[in-house]
Subunit: 190 residues, 2 copies
DNA sequence: ATGTTTATTGTCCGAAATGACAAGATATTA
DNA sequence: TAATATCTTGTCATTTCGGACAATAAACAT
């Protein structure tokens, strides 16, 4: 009785194009025309299938956060804490263009409390999962520090600040997760 | 023979207003009208004293980076590495509104190679100064990790991800700087 | 006082982006 | 094939921002 709905696919195409534009020129400078050209569609179609600009941004956020969570679900169960933080270092913070879009989201969260909360929830979940894998005092704080180190290193890498030897970052994060570091400190100070 | 030049003071007022606007609503959404209102001056005066928008942004960047460097110069000479990283944690990443503007700069650096280089130079200098204070293998990489941890913790704090006990972050960064961690690791693994 | 440099005001223009919508085309089902 | 929901196109209005400039006021030196 009616033409078949292809809205879902169109939406997908548009969001892919939107993401490419955001990675290339930033969220603030990406216009509907940019997205339309990237998607090979006239601009009004973007409005028709997605809605206004806010709706498009919201859809992008949902898409990215969902993808981030899916990535964490790929973490093999039964991993050690060190394998988990290696996973975070090598997989989560690896893709450079994804990192750029994530940084765009981060920036957006500066003035968007709900987005900030969503980002916080994702990272907190990673921290909690790693914390559950380690022993010793303050597991949450130590996992926090390890993930913070991974985040900071990723941000620094984006700046062009290279670590001569990436293995040392892994070693440092492992060191933060080591269960009986206070024992080691006692040994060292003795 | 002429009216006295008050350009320097006006420039300062305008840049203070600009910074306040950027902290409040972000660089991209700060218009010349916003700055003019915040400064209590008509809009054309902003253009008269500063120039166009690019010039204003450039002036803000110079101002912030200069301030950042001045902050590092306040680090007492003869400090230990642990005092230095404490200084970074407690002083450099302390002021919340300054952090927001720094994050704006960081975001801007995503598409501005020269700004990216300037930011990198500042952080690299901090890393090098701390690296010079520690012994053992890979001093640069260990200093890199300690500063990355501080940066990541600051970014997480902005998200609202609180560390139950901030002292643990200090402890973790000290641990990364400890000179003979490989000896400790050997002891622990023995 | 007068001229000269600097500061201040008011106002306009053009570019660019978003939002809105009418009108036409297309595919499916009845 | 005809009705209808869906998709597509073309076009326009509004808003907002940045840039420019002429005209006026103020302060100081001579």
């Amino acid at each position: 009785m009616a033409r078949p709905r292809i809205g879902a696919e169109r939406r997908e195409e548009i969001l892919v194009a939107f993401e490419a534009c955001v990675a290339r020129k930033g969220l603030a400078k990406t216009t509907l025309v940019d997205v339309a050209e990237q998607a090979g569609q006239p601009r009004p179609l973007v409005r028709y299938f997605i809605g206004n600009r806010d709706a498009m941004v919201t859809a992008l956020i949902d898409r990215l956060l969902e993808r981030g969570e899916a990535q964490f679900r790929r973490l093999p169960i039964g991993s050690t804490a060190e394998q988990a933080i290696d996973f975070v270092l090598d997989q989560v913070f690896a893709d450079e263009t994804a990192n750029i879009v994530i940084m765009e989201l981060w920036h957006l969260s500066l003035r968007d409390a709900s987005l900030r909360a969503r980002l916080a929830a994702i990272y907190e979940r990673v921290i909690l999962e790693i914390a559950a894998l380690i022993d010793g005092p303050h597991p949450h704080d130590r996992a926090f520090c390890a993930v913070a180190l991974a985040l900071g290193a990723a941000f620094f890498r984006h700046l062009g600040l290279a670590v001569p030897n990436p293995a040392n970052v892994h070693g440092a994060s492992h060191r933060l997760l080591r269960s009986d570091f206070s024992a080691a400190d006692r040994i060292l100070s003795a």
